[in-house]
Amino acid sequence: MDVTRRELLKGAAALGVAGTLSQGLRGPAQAQTTQKKELVTAQGGDIARFDPHFSTSSNDIRVSFNLFDNLTSRHPDGKLYPGLATEWKLEGQTAWRFKLRQGVKFHNGDPFTSADAKFSIERTYDPNAKTMVSTALATIDRIEAPDPYTLLIHTKKPDPLLPARLAFYGGQIVPKKYLESVGNDGFNAKPVGTGPVSFNSWVKDDKGVFDAYAGYWGGKPDFDRWVVRAIPETAPRIAALLKGEVDIITQLPPDQEDRVIANPATRVEGALYAGLYCLGVNSKRPPLDNPLVKQALSLAIDRDLIVKELWKGRGIVPNGPIAKGDNHFDAKLPALAYNPKEARERLKKSGYKGEEIFIETTVAYVSQDKAMSEAIAAMWKDVGVNVKVEVIEYSVRAQKTREKSFKGVWWSDPTSTLGDPDGMMWRLLGPGGPMDYWRDAKWDELGNAARFSVDEKFRAEAYRDMTKIFLEYLPWLPVIQPYEDYGLQKYVEWTPNPNQQFEIRRFNLKFRRA
């Protein structure tokens, strides 16, 4: 039911109603500067949990990465910066020494020390804590806290990406003393961190309110209060922005951007998604076990057309399994080709006999999934593929992911959690990973070696070879690397983060004052 409504809503908004209004629209917020002391943001869903170790959902991490700090911090420019750790270095092959920031206090006044850091990291993989991020830092063997401002982390094998892992989910530092005294439920109800905002109140499905933390080590944010509203439908979310009720909105679809741009007080800001939108492939099921068939399917997709028509140019065509912006992305590699003639040839060579190939699409699980499915189905039909589009619901998708029971291809939006192929293709396509439908001995060997090597030159070569093998066997059909767009008031100076963190610290968010 929600599905049809969402589509119709988009239609209604895009149709005449919007058109008529855009000319006559004179938003009350024409100002390009402001005296506001309150930042209001609207996202597509409500916060579910504040405890950072119990959720990885984007609606939650937008908040939790600002209530809490990590030891390291990935800024919107994609680079790693100091967080609660001021410096770190590798000692030998498997020991990382972190020097911690002194004089930092939690929102409740407790001082931050290495005991908190040790407790937080150990909590993520402690089987008794039952967290939702139990695998995020599983490369760690043990942690020592020789003094209040030093942390020594020993990994099971060499782990070149440990500082990157600590910057993402699972790595948020929670207060040991407070959490132990109030318990998990108490902590989630009244979370305390070291981040730039402190918890004030939360009305479910309405809004969360957070106060700027005056004592923040990175400087008090450029506002006194942050209100996070949940506005699930796209059209009302945009209306709230145009009317000046909110300062920033998330999840702005490309076909709605004209309205935001046309309004004199608002603008669009986007970040190239740290990941890809792919069709996952069940390579175990004929005819998709035949690499020639998969190559034909890939060659038959006119990705440029999809980017231009469905995404209004807000995306780029991938050139392999590594997202642009990640370590070891090869800019010299050409974008995935569109060649329907060659596609027909390879289909013929593969011995394909018109077996049904299913696209199991969700609706709005990833942006534009259904529209892209229909476009791709038409392109595949053109080269002689017997394709069938089936719509599945989110929970069915979750079940099929779990059971690895997809019938053909399906939409997936692999996120690069570490800014490195290890946190994307190897995490998802590796042996036992959630998208393990295809194995290749050489590919597995390279992936494993690259994970545990601290030699970046060796890793670069390994990922280059893995990309070659990938492009032959295509365990994913990469389709687009889209921009994730936000609508914002012109008086807000802010840069989005490619990995869905929502950075509101002083270095990244400022109100333009008169």
Partner: protein, 308 residues
């Protein structure tokens, strides 16, 4: 008075049966609709973890056992812990009820206050311009889907005319657009029904008699017409309250209103059995309570209802 007690007892008994049926249907349907555990855990969670969570939530027990536990807990208003929010389902739903009641009752009140006089006026001035205009608007109100009206109101009355906020819950200004949206269908139905009920009564012999004996129009309408027309109006109005609860699902989503309609939809997506069960149960209680109240009003308005 002697007929009142058995009448009440019988209605109460029916209400309880209805509640039992509703909760059983929800229990069965939710279990048919899929496993919540894959939605709760990351996709790479091992099978042992899945089994642990399933055991913890009691989902590994046979269905009849789950059902028995569910029934006995429901009697104590214990719907279990929300799988998504990880707190008692009743506590979660309780936090949303006030918002839905505020919206639903405002819409309901708005609908009744506006629709009854319009329907009455339409009937009295039958086939006039006023009648045609009012019934035309009512037709649109009945035909237009809630989400369409909602978006239209946001665009016209909020963005263009700058009269009300676009969404969210706050002061009375926040209430106007969602209440109008939610009440539109009800308002239209009540207006149309009032018109036809009044027209029917106006044709009755006792109205001709009243007029013949020289009673003033105010008394004819106020005392004889409205009172007799009120029974069908009351019936449809009570039934409309159910429509309001259903319509709340869409209206609350469009206007980001933190009510139980939106909670129910989200909880269905999350396969959050306890919250869905609790929401539907409480919605059913509200619906049945309203119907019960209407039954009592019938008794007061029409002695024949008591006798039957």
């Amino acid at each position: 008075m002697s007929g009142l007690l058995p009448f009440l007892a019988q209605r109460l008994f029916r209400a309880l049966i209805a509640l039992w049926l509703v909760s059983t249907v929800v229990f069965v349907v939710m279990r048919l609709s899929g496993d919540p555990v894959p939605l709760l855990l990351p996709p790479d969670a091992p099978t042992s973890e899945m089994e642990r969570v399933r055991r913890e939530l009691g989902l590994d027990r046979p269905l009849p056992v789950q059902y028995a536990v569910f029934l006995s807990n429901t009697l104590r208003l214990d719907f279990g812990r929300s799988l998504h929010f990880r707190e008692p389902a009743f506590t979660v739903v309780r936090g949303y009820i006030a918002a839905t009641l505020e919206l639903g009752l405002t819409a309901f009140f708005l609908a009744a206050v506006v629709a009854v006089p319009i329907g009455l006026l339409s009937a009295m001035k039958r086939n006039s311009v006023l009648d045609h205009a009012a019934m035309g608007v009512a037709l649109i109100g009945q035909a237009a889907p809630t989400f369409f009206l909602g978006i239209l109101f946001i665009l016209l009355l909020s963005l263009k005319a700058d009269l009300f906020p676009t969404s969210g819950r706050g002061g009375w200004q926040h209430l106007v657009l969602p209440a109008l949206t939610l009440g539109a269908f009800t308002m239209a139905s009540i207006a149309r029904l009032t018109r036809s009920a009044v027209l029917e009564v106006l044709r009755a012999d006792y109205i001709r008699t009243a007029r013949a004996k020289g009673l003033g129009e105010a008394i004819v309408v106020g005392k004889h017409t409205l009172k007799n027309a009120s029974i069908p109006i009351l019936t449809i109005t009570a039934l409309q309250f159910g429509t309001l609860l259903g319509g709340a699902v869409v209206t609350e989503t469009v206007f980001s209103w933190p009510g139980i309609g939106r909670l129910a939809v989200q909880s269905i997506y999350n396969r959050d059995y306890p919250v869905v069960q609790c929401t539907v149960f409480l919605a059913a209680v509200m619906f049945i309570a309203i119907n019960f109240a209407v039954d009592l009003l019938y008794g007061a308005l029409d002695p024949r209802a008591r006798a039957n």
